[in-house]
Amino acid sequence: MSTPNLVPPAHNCETCPVHNVGNLIKLGINMDNWDYAVALAGNPNTGKSTIFNALTGLRQHTGNWPGKTVSRAEGGFSYGGHRYKLVDLPGTYSLLSTSLDEEVARNFILFGQPDVTIIVADATRLERNLNLVLQVLEITNRAVVALNLMDEARRHGLTVDERSLARDLGVPVVPTSARSRQGIPDLLQAVSEVATGKIVCQPHRLKSEPPALKKAVAELVAQLEAAFPGLPNARWVALRLLDGDPRIVEAVERGELGELARTETGPAEANLYLPLEVANHA
């Protein structure tokens, strides 16, 4: 079986004009008739807006400080014959707490149902960034991790094994240095493959909860799935209900979850037979 090109090629490829970034057409604020919606999530100050600008050609203000983006910005790009709408979300450390900027991020991933979520992680602070990555992976099935700030990691003498990471997370992991545009072509490729269903993710789900909680979650999931067939993230909804999250309680009451379930018949379904290569990269 051939292996999708998830591991970035040597850097001199990227300077070659034939390299597939030529496929990228930055559409700026033009987002008409998009085929796929892509969200950019991640910790504050990891370079989401920089990636956003690199893909859309817009000039969303970037700055070296957390909390720069508080509302979501949208832009468009076209790649490999498909049109994408890209949504830059506010940076957040967690999807579990309740400040307005964190809620903007969470609600979009949960209720906006992006076709792909790019989770931007700071390679120099991987452990803390993974906390959010894991939370996002609880919510969505289709994600790509952009392991950003690789240049800084290298400067600090850190080596990050993106294959091990991809295997553990169950989603493609692309090393990038967005400030100098490195890795953007590979990121685009991974996003398009997840969007079109060429890659089917098997995202990491939490395993280390205590048995009592596991049982409670399973019971609720059964009910949720009966009430809302096809709900993509019943487990996470169950966890939030057990935590008494008012926004999720409200979503159940108002039937927003039902809408989630209906929209979850994305293009990924068509290509389920293609296994996730990253997961098999032993």
């Binding site: 504050p44 100050n45 000039r59 203000h61 700055g63 070296n64 400080w65 957390p66 508080v70 506010p90 579990l96 707490s97 309740t98 400040s99 307005l100 900027d101 120099t124 991987l126 452990e127 993974l130 906390n131 894991l134 939370q135 600090h156 003498g157 850190l158 080596t159 990050v160 094994d161 993106e162 091990s164 990471l165 553990d168 400030r179 990491h204 939490l206 395993k207 280390s208 909860e209 205590p210 048995p211 009592a212 909680l213 596991k214 049982k215 409670a216 399973a218 019971e219 609720l220 009910q223 009966a226 009430a227 966890l239 209900l241 057990l242 935590d243 008494g244 309680v249 159940v252 009451e253």
Partner: protein, 485 residues
């Protein structure tokens, strides 16, 4: 346990939303109240395990860590504030010293060269006097004045400020201020929204979304106006260099003017603390909540890109906004100066009406009228002041007629203002009033949208204005008392 569930026959009826919520409520009793902690712990455990497998750390940590060393210095109790003041003084000094020459050149080009050419052109095609006045003396002059006075300082100040921001200095300022905000009963993140306010108050108000508690967010919104915005920096810089810089020998003028501007900006920060403190003990009582502030690594600024984006996004944006508002304001001023009621122009009526109160607080009617005209944009205060002063002093020899936004290099500006009865007190109080008055209409509207409350929008508008009146009144009285002794 999972198996039992799967073995159970499918329930006859699909559970309703209420069934699910009841079930959840019941299960919550069984799992206990620490679900949140349990989930967070599970996440942390997994994250640590995965990260540990993926990251290989360097054999031994580098002996010298530059980031740490810089941080120890710029956030130290002893050196943090002095360094901050020094850094901002240098930025303003570069701005003031560097803007003089290009400002003069632009004024010569746009006002002394192009304006007469336009007038001659209008005369040659026989444009009626009122249209010529409205278009060329009103709209063109208003626009040209804004460009020549504001473009050079902004083209220097914004790139410098953006470089500091890109380098990662702003969160350190926030770190230094955090403790003081907390002591004022406000949220430490307010220091971040204040940093945004130093660019634009409307943006600063939106930035308060990072604050979770509604009480602290309201405090941050109401006090954001005390961060001097883009539209007010030029006023501060110009008045400081005209009046404060003139007090000292010329080789010190730039430095002293810069210090005066930094002083007003710092006063704004102190006012933020003071008003936050007062609000959190009266209208918005409550405890300050805690948060963690991440100090990002220092990053070498991308020099050319920063210059480019700061010129496009900030300089041109602010300039454009100024022009958009200055052009119609120029027209309105020209009209009010040329339409007469009972032999006196509307503008003179208004100035005469406002003058007694203006003088009481150490300003004058011209300045107050200018601030009314400038409600849509602080950027046009100075052009409006100059134009109205020409009108009042009747120095028509200098301008080309009633309602012409005045063409002037710095020294002519000074002599004009002196002729308009300006003193050092007027200048000082104008700088204070520029810091403490109602936010621009865009900011007020943003506050209304963010809070959803007309009451808080009104409080945010009136509170700084009232404070401005009180402070300028006291300064004027004390000043006159001392001067009269």
């Amino acid at each position: 346990m999972l198996n039992q569930n799967q073995l159970q026959p499918t329930p006859l009826a699909v559970p309703s939303a209420q069934d699910i919520l009841n079930k959840a409520a019941q299960l919550r009793w069984e799992v206990g109240s620490n679900v949140h902690e349990t989930v967070v712990e599970a996440i942390y455990t997994d994250a640590a395990r995965i990260a540990d497998r993926a990251v290989i750390y360097p054999d031994r940590p580098p002996r010298f860590n530059l980031d740490r060393t810089i941080d120890r210095l710029v956030t130290s109790r002893l050196w943090g504030f002095p360094l901050m003041i020094l850094l901002f003084t240098v930025v303003f000094w570069l701005t003031i010293a560097g803007a003089n020459i290009p400002s003069g050149m632009l004024a010569t080009l746009l006002l002394d060269t192009i304006h007469p050419m336009l007038k001659a052109g209008a005369a040659s095609i026989g444009l009626p006097w009122w249209l010529d006045g409205l278009l060329i003396d009103g709209i063109y002059m208003g626009t040209a004045w804004v460009v020549s006075v504001m473009l050079p300082p902004m083209a220097i100040f914004f790139p410098l400020f953006t470089l500091l921001e890109d380098f990662g200095y702003l969160p350190r300022v926030a770190f230094n201020l955090d403790n003081l905000f907390k002591k004022s009963g406000a949220h430490g993140k307010q220091s971040l929204s204040m940093m945004m306010g130093f660019g634009c108050n409307a943006a600063g108000v939106i930035a308060t979304r990072i604050i979770d508690s509604p009480r602290e967010r309201l405090i941050a919104i109401v006090t954001n106006n005390f961060a001097l915005c883009n539209g007010r920096w030029p006023t501060q810089i110009l008045i400081a260099s005209l009046f404060i810089g003139a007090l000292v020998p010329s080789y010190l003028a730039g430095l002293i003017s810069a210090l005066a501007v930094v002083g007003v900006a710092l006063l704004g920060v102190l006012l933020s603390f003071g008003v936050s403190w007062a609000l959190s003990r009266t209208l918005l009582k409550g405890e300050a909540s805690t948060f963690s502030l991440e100090l990002p690594p220092y990053r070498p600024p991308r020099f050319w890109q920063t210059i480019y984006t700061s010129l496009i996004d900030r300089t041109i944006y602010v300039l454009w906004r100024a022009i958009v508002f200055a052009a119609p304001a120029g027209a309105v001023i020209w009209l009010s100066a040329n339409i007469q009621l009972g032999g006196v122009s509307i503008a003179e009526h208004l100035i005469g009406f406002l003058n007694p109160f203006g003088l009481l607080i150490g300003l004058n009617g011209v300045i107050l009228l200018a601030y009314i005209v400038a409600i849509p944009a602080n950027e046009i205060v100075i052009p409006t002041v100059l134009m109205l002063t020409v009108l009042v002093t009747g120095m028509h020899g200098l301008g080309a007629g009633a309602g012409v936004m005045f063409e002037a290099g710095d020294n002519e500006t000074l002599s004009l203002l002196n002729a308009g009865g300006w003193t050092l007190l007027t200048a000082v109080n104008l700088m204070l009033f520029s810091l403490m008055h109602n936010p621009c209409s865009t900011t007020i509207y943003t506050i209304y949208k963010e809070t959803g409350s007309a009451k808080w929008a009104a409080i945010s508008a009136v509170l700084p204005l009232a404070l401005g009146f009180v402070v300028t009144f006291i300064v004027a009285q004390v000043w006159r008392l001392i001067a009269g002794m």
